[in-house]
């Protein structure tokens, strides 16, 4: 568990981070969100002592990080930089081996671990001997993530890990990453200025501005209970997309047309625990009105088209809005 209390950081007179407090529970994914220059990177780097706090305390699992040697602390925290920062004179294998080597792992164990990671990140094994300059941007970023995960640290700090990629690769890698077993176990603090990304990945989102925390809460809390106009405005641009992201198919289940075609009970069905946005992504061609997917919520199974989902979502929205 990470506890940040009353932390400030100023560079000269410029207060980059101004008296912030938050906690991240074990296994939780916290997103630091905000516009450029609001202090996200500074906050993140204070967690692994790349930047020293000006005031306040940070503790990890109950120990103040001031009382721990920086190197020891960092070897137990994966760190992914904002820009690609693989060591150019090391091969992929050597890059992945950096932290395990610092922890004196045996060579066979390191090799084994590197192989597993490459598989997880869908990279061919022969890439192990390649140098960073021989990799594409997407491959490099995968290696970058693999390197951070190499020694299986309980905590992962990520500074805009996908920002250097084009939108399509970025989305694909994000989904890939979220599906990873490694991802699910870890306590993650991730920086982004991409609202959509924050909503997809984060258990909670910490919205910052001018070095201060404006609001911290689950995506739903931010969307449905913004504490001020700043939060509202910040989310308004992609409001509908965010709404589809925070709403699960389960939530709108009873508003969905119960199509009787769901005959064969044994056919594979998607879980309705996914968001409406994610469900819509399952359709290869969103204009094809005949295409349907099977979805299961508890015991019930439905065959749903794009328009079924959108219709159901509209009805759900109208009903909930009427209630408030």
């Amino acid at each position: 568990m990470i506890e940040v209390s009353n932390v400030s950081k100023s560079f000269g007179k410029n207060a980059a981070v101004d008296n912030i407090s938050f906690t991240v529970k074990k296994g939780e994914k916290l997103i630091l969100l905000g516009v450029s220059g609001c202090g996200k990177t500074t906050t993140l780097k204070m967690l692994n002592k790349l930047i020293d706090v000006s005031s306040g305390t940070i503790s990890i699992d109950g120990t103040d990080i001031q009382d721990q040697p920086a190197e020891k602390l960092r070897r137990n925290m994966g760190y992914v930089l904002q820009r690609n920062s693989l060591f150019p004179h090391f091969t992929v294998l050597e890059n992945i081996a950096v932290v395990p080597n610092l922890l004196y792992w045996e060579k066979s164990r390191i090799d084994e671990r590197a192989k597993v990671l490459l598989e997880k990140f869908h990279l061919p094994q022969e890439r192990l001997l390649a140098y960073p300059k021989e990799l594409s941007g997407g491959e490099a970023q995968r290696v970058n993530l693999a390197r951070a995960l190499a020694a299986d640290p309980p905590i992962l700090l990520m500074d805009e890990p996908f920002s250097a990629l084009d939108t399509i690769t970025r989305k694909a890698m994000r989904n890939e990453f979220v599906e990873l077993g490694e991802f699910k176990e870890k306590t993650i603090v991730m920086v982004t200025h991409d609202v959509q990304e924050a909503f997809e990945i984060g258990d909670r989102i910490c919205l910052m501005d001018g070095g201060k925390i404006i609001q911290i809460g689950t995506p739903k809390q931010l969307l449905f209970a913004p504490i001020n106009d700043f939060v509202r405005d910040f989310l308004s641009n992609s409001y509908l997309q965010l709404l589809l992201t925070v709403t699960r198919c389960c939530d709108i289940w009873k508003f969905l047309d119960d199509n009787q075609q769901a005959a064969n009970e044994n056919d594979k069905a998607f879980s309705a625990e996914i968001s409406v946005a994610a469900a819509l992504e399952r359709f290869k061609d969103k204009n094809d009105t005949d295409q349907k997917i099977r979805m299961r919520c508890l015991d019930s199974v439905k065959m749903l088209s794009v328009s079924d989902l959108l219709q159901g979502f509209a009805n759900y929205k109208a009903k909930t809005d009427a209630r408030t």
Partner: protein, 521 residues
């Protein structure tokens, strides 16, 4: 010295010496380079970590590099003496800037994100330095080492000036003896050495430091071993030490004659004329070659050893005049001969001392001397003609030509123009035969050996006898060139060996034979 016909003949004759000089050259270069790397790379890293002091450190190393090499070598004689030590120290100073600067640029040039990744992964500053920063900065650092190597191979030729050996001995010896083959025998290996070392270092520069750590440690170790061997080879020695100029070393009437006639076998180093008086004075040398009327004999309180076997040819100074002028103005001869017999070795040394060390004006010295001899007269009015006097480009010649000008103006109805500073012997002589000047002071030995260049038999037959040499040059100059040697002035500006006066007295040495006798005991 007989000059071999071709470069290859010279090289094959001097093979052993060439090999030794090349090894010395390599040793000087690599030893100084190794120290420069050992000091420069950590210094560069240090200032990369402490950027505030970087500009001042780089400025200081930059200033060191702008000190002219000769001045730097001169400064170091009192501190480090002569030989390899000061040479290596000077080379070390010159190599420092490119190495420190490139290390600084290389280390600071490593991408900030990469450095952050290294510390973010949990590397200590030392781990980050050795695993990441140095390997990434390596090509830039090697670039600096390559620059330093090229500089050092070049500057190491100057080591010959301070008795540190190297290929400069051939180069500067060849220049002063006007022996092209000798110059090339030094210059070509020096150039090849520079190219070869640069090529080898370029190969090393391409290496990925993260891969071949072992090989890389082998490199400085090999350098160090080589350098140590070199250092031991030139270990200190307590015996008397002689220092001769490259020119003296190559001359029959110099070192070669000393060996043949005296069996000269003292420990000998090669050193530049500008450095050797100082080195002798500072007790870094015990015997040097020089000229008997040099003002520095007085300045440094030295004594010339008697040439008891007469190997150094006589160099009596006398005016050489075109006969046509003497026919036209016979009174000129009488005026010039007024100086004859007036100046002996010690007087000339004294006059040279005033010019070269006290930096008095040659004309003032000339006038003062003539007045003391009651020879000076005010110039006569209304001259009816004009005489042009030439001189070579050093103090003694300036003084003599000034005296002649005053004598002609005072004792004849002629005016005088002076063309001083006509470079060396050849330029003066050509000016005279081409009628651009009418007279200049020349030395019998120079006229004999340099201008007339008689065959070996004639040389050996006459060289011991000053009168025979004078008669020979007088006769030959008159018949060949229509030039007349007037009466000698009196002093003999010949080659001599000299020692510190006190030292010579302590050792009871007054002749060259005494010296060698002592050296054998």
């Amino acid at each position: 010295m007989q000059e071999p016909d071709t470069f290859w003949e010279f090289v094959s004759g001097q093979w052993a010496k060439l090999g030794e000089q090349t090894l010395q050259h390599l040793g000087l270069t690599l030893f100084s380079l190794t120290i420069a790397v050992i000091v420069g790379v950590p210094l560069g890293i240090f200032i990369a970590r402490n950027r505030k002091i970087a500009p001042s450190v780089l400025n200081i190393t930059g200033i060191l590099q702008t000190i002219p090499s000769m001045a730097l070598l001169g400064f170091m004689i009192p501190l480090l003496g002569i030989g390899p030590k000061p040479a290596i120290f000077a080379l070390f100073l010159y190599a420092l800037l490119p190495i420190v600067r490139n290390t600084y640029i290389g280390i600071t040039g490593v991408d900030a994100d990469i450095k952050e990744a290294a510390s973010g992964m949990g590397m200590t500053p030392a781990q980050s330095l050795f695993k990441v920063e140095i390997p990434l900065a390596f090509p830039v650092i090697m670039g600096g080492i390559r620059t330093a190597t090229t500089i050092n191979v070049g500057v190491a030729t100057l080591a010959a000036y301070i008795a540190a050996g190297g290929l400069g001995e051939f180069i500067f010896g060849g220049i002063s003896l006007n022996n092209t083959n000798m110059i090339l025998a030094g210059a070509i290996p020096a150039a090849l050495l520079a190219v070869l070392l640069d090529f080898l270092l370029a190969q090393l520069q391409k290496v990925n430091l993260a891969k071949v750590r072992k090989m890389l440690f082998a490199f400085p170790v090999a350098l160090l071993v080589f350098s140590l061997i070199y250092a031991f080879r030139t270990a200190e020695d307590k015996r008397l030490l002689a220092g001769f100029t490259p020119e003296f070393m190559g001359r029959q009437d110099g070192f070669l004659g000393l060996q043949q006639k005296y069996g000269f076998d003292m420990r000998t180093v090669v050193i530049d004329d500008a450095m050797m008086y100082k080195a002798l004075y500072e007790k870094k040398l015990d015997v040097i070659s020089g000229y008997s009327t040099d003002g520095r004999i007085k300045a440094f309180d030295l004594v010339a050893l008697t040439d008891d076997k007469h190997i150094f040819p006589p160099y009596y100074a006398a005016p050489v005049v075109r006969e046509k002028i003497l026919q036209k103005y016979p009174e000129v001869e009488d005026a010039l001969n007024l100086l004859s017999g007036r100046i002996n070795d010690s007087i000339m040394t004294e006059l040279n001392y005033k010019a070269d060390y006290l930096h008095q004006n040659p004309e003032a010295i000339a006038k003062e001397f003539l007045q003391s001899q009651k020879l000076w007269k005010a110039p006569r009015q209304n001259p009816k003609g004009k005489i042009v006097i030439g001189s070579k480009i050093f103090g003694e010649q300036y003084i003599l030509s000034a005296m002649y000008a005053m004598l002609i103006k005072g004792y004849t109805n002629l005016d005088v123009a002076t063309k001083t500073g006509l470079g060396g012997t050849k330029i003066c002589f050509d000016a005279l035969t081409n009628k651009q000047i009418d007279l200049y002071p020349e030395y019998t030995g120079t006229g004999f050996l340099v201008l007339l260049q008689p065959d070996e038999k004639t040389v050996n037959g006459l060289i011991k006898d000053k009168n025979a040499v004078y008669d020979f040059v007088s006769k030959e100059f008159r018949s060949r060139y229509g030039l007349k040697w007037l009466k000698p002035i009196g002093f003999n500006n010949a080659y001599v060996l000299m020692m510190r006066k006190k030292h010579a007295e302590e050792l009871r040495v007054s002749t060259i034979s005494d010296l060698l006798q002592l050296n054998h005991n």
